[in-house]
Amino acid sequence: MMEWLEPIQKMLGPAWLPIWTLLKIVVIVLPLMGAVAYLTLAERKVIGWMQIRIGPNRVGYFGLLQPLADGLKLLMKEIIVPSGANKFLFIIAPILTLMPALAVWAVVPFNAELVVANVNAGLLYVLAMASLGVYGVIIAGWASNSKYAFLGSLRSAAQIVSYEIAMGFALVTVLMAAQSLNLGDIVRGQQGTHGLLNWYFIPLFPMFVVYFISGVAETNRAPFDVAEGESEIVAGFHVEYSGMAFALFFLGEYANMILVSFLTSIMFLGGWLSPLPFLPDGILWMFIKVAFVLFLFLWFRATFPRYRYDQLMRLGWKVFIPVSLIWVVVVGVWMQTSYWLW
C-alpha cells in the first residue's frame, strides 16, 4: 500500500475501506468505458481498412471524437417504450446486461498488484457473473413484445447456455494446470525461465481455441451473431430499443469483448508476463495481448459469414463439449506423468 495515504486512512477511520474500494472501482470503470468507446472506433477503422474504406474521419482528427459524438447522440435520444411492452422489465433489461459485464472486472488482475478484489475463487466468480448477462437478453426479448426480439432472445439464451458449458470445461483444464482458482495465481503459474513457452496455451492448445471461440459466441459476435442476425431477425433482442437503453446493450457487448480478451490473455497467454525471458514483465504486455485478441474479434467479423442457429448449436454440443471433456481427462493423466513441464 502507498505510504502517503496512511494519514488520510487514519483520519477517516472505518469509513476508509468503502471509500478506497469505491475509488478503485472508479479507476477501473472509467477507463473501461473509455476503452469501450474507442473499441467501437477501432472496430470501424479496422473493418473499414479491411474493406477498402477509410472508416470515420470527419469528427476530430482520424475520427477520434466519433465515439463521443455517438455517445452524445444516443444520450439525447428518446427511449421509446413500445405499446404492449412490460415497462419495468423493458427498462431493467439493459441494466441487467451491463451490470454483470462491469462487475466481473473486480477480480481481473492487470498486473501482479493491480486488482480490486484478490478473490481466491476468482475464476468461479467470473463464470457466475458472465452467465448472469444472459438474463438481460432474455428479459429484453420478452419485454419488448415483438416477434423478432422474442426469436432473438430465444436464440441467444440457447447459445449462451450451451457455449458456457464448453467454456467451463476449458476453464477446468486451466485450473487443473494452475492448481488455483485465483486469477493472479493462474498467471503466476505460467511464470518460468522460458518466456512464452511456459504459458498454458501450449499444453492446453485445443482448450485455448475452444475457449476463445466460445468467448466469441458468448459475446454474440460474428460469426456467431445469430441473436442479432441483422439480415434475418433485424436486430434480434434489442430491435425495439433506442437511445441510452440501446447504448447500454452496446456497452455491455463491448465490455464483454474486452473481458474475454483479458481472460484469454490471463489464462492462456501469460497475462502480464513477458514473452521473452530477458524482457521485464509488466502491464504493457497485458495490453498488447488484449489488443491482439481484440483484433482477432474484429478480423473474424470482417471475414466470416454467419452461422445458422442450428449449426451453431451443433458446433457447441457436438464438437466443443466432447473435445473439452476429452482434454480434461488428457490433462489429468498428463499431469500425473513426468512429461508435464508446466
Partner: protein, 417 residues
Amino acid sequence: MPEIKNYTMNFGPQHPAAHGVLRLVLELDGEVVMRADPHIGLLHRATEKLAEHKTYLQSLPYMDRLDYVSMLSNEHAYVQAIEKLAGIDVPIRAQYIRVMFDEITRLLNHLMWLGAHGLDIGAMTVFLYCFREREDLMDAYEAVSGARMHAAYYRPGGVYRDLPDTMPQYQASKVHNEAAIKRMNANRQGSLLDFLEDFTRRFPKHVDEYETLLTDNRIWKQRTVGIGVLSPERAVALGITGPMLRGSGVEWDLRKKQPYAVYDKLDFDIPVGVNGDTYDRYLVRVEEMRQSNRIIKQCIDWLRANPGPVITANHKYAPPSRESMKQNMEELIHHFKLFTEGMHIAEGEAYAAVEHPKGEFGIYMISDGANKPYRLKIRAPGFVHLSTLDEMARGHMIADVVTIIGTQDIVFGEIDR
C-alpha cells in the same frame, strides 16, 4: 392440453434482407418455415399500361427501371421486339456494342447479387469488394451514355452513339489531392475500350478474391449446400430460367439455344450445376462472371478492328444525321416526323427474349400500326422465381429463407413492374 399454433411472422417490407419491398408472411413452427407467402405489388408502377400511352422511344427509359440492376439487358429485349416487328436491320457494330454492354450488365447484376447474397449470409466484406468493381462498370455506362445506371442507350435499329474516344476524368478536390487524382485517372487516359480492356485484365483476379472468401469457406458451405434444392424436372415445370435453372443442371441459355445479336460468333461456355442447391447456383453465377469477362474481351478486340455505323440508315426508325437534316428535305421530314409522332411500327405481334442476367426476359408486343404499342407484355424472370419461394423455403429455417431470397436474385422493379 392447449392447442399449439404456428407462429406467423411478417418479414418485410421494411426488412434488411427483403431486397426492396418484398413482404413475406412466414408461418413458423419454432424457427422452421411451414409456409412462405410472398406478397407483391408494393413497387407497381404500371409500366405495361404506361407503354400503351407513350411512343415507342418514350417507353425505352422505362425498361431501365424494370430490373434496375441490369438496365441494358431489359432495353435489349425491348428494342429487339421492335426490330422484329418492324424488320429493322441492325448494323453489326451496334450488335457487338450491345453484346458487350449486355455482358457488362451481367457483371453489374452478378456483382450486386454476390454482394447482397454475401451480406444476407453475413459475409460483409464481399459486398464492398463487389462494389469496387461495379464502380468501374458504372463508369463505362457513364462514358457511353452519360448516366451511371439508367443508360437509355439502345435504340430500335442500333445504339444511340458510337463508343467515346476519351474517358471522363476525376478532378482534384478537397478530399483527393493531385497525386491521388493522377493515380485514379491512370487507366482513364485512353478510350472506353482501353479502359474496359484494363478492367477485363484485372477482373479475373478480383473474382479469385471473392472466391477465396467464400467458395471453400466452411461456414459459407454449411449455409448454402443443400438449401433450396430444385430438381431439374421441377425447375423446368415451374418455369424457372437463367442461372437458377442452370444451377439445377439444365443446360438452357438463350445465348446458345436461340442466339440473338452476335452471340453465335463469340466463344464462351455455359456453366451448369449438379445438385440444384444454393451453393451450385453460387458457383454457376461466379463462373458466368468469368465467361462474361471472356465475351467482353472478344467484343473489345472486334470493335477495335471494325469501325462502322452504329445505327440503322433506315430513317423511318432512326433519326438522320444533323448535317443531312439541315441540307436535305427528305431528311428534314424524317427528323420532324420522328421527333413529333415517333416511329410507326407495322401491324402485327412479336415476342423477343434475351438471356437476362436473371433468366429469360421477354417482351411481347402487339402493334396496330400506330406510333404506340397496342399492348406490351413483360415476361420478367424474377416474378416466376419469387412464385417458387414457398416451395423452396418450406421446411427450412428463417435464416435459410434469407439465403433463398438471395439466391433467387430478386429485384422488385421487374417483379412488380
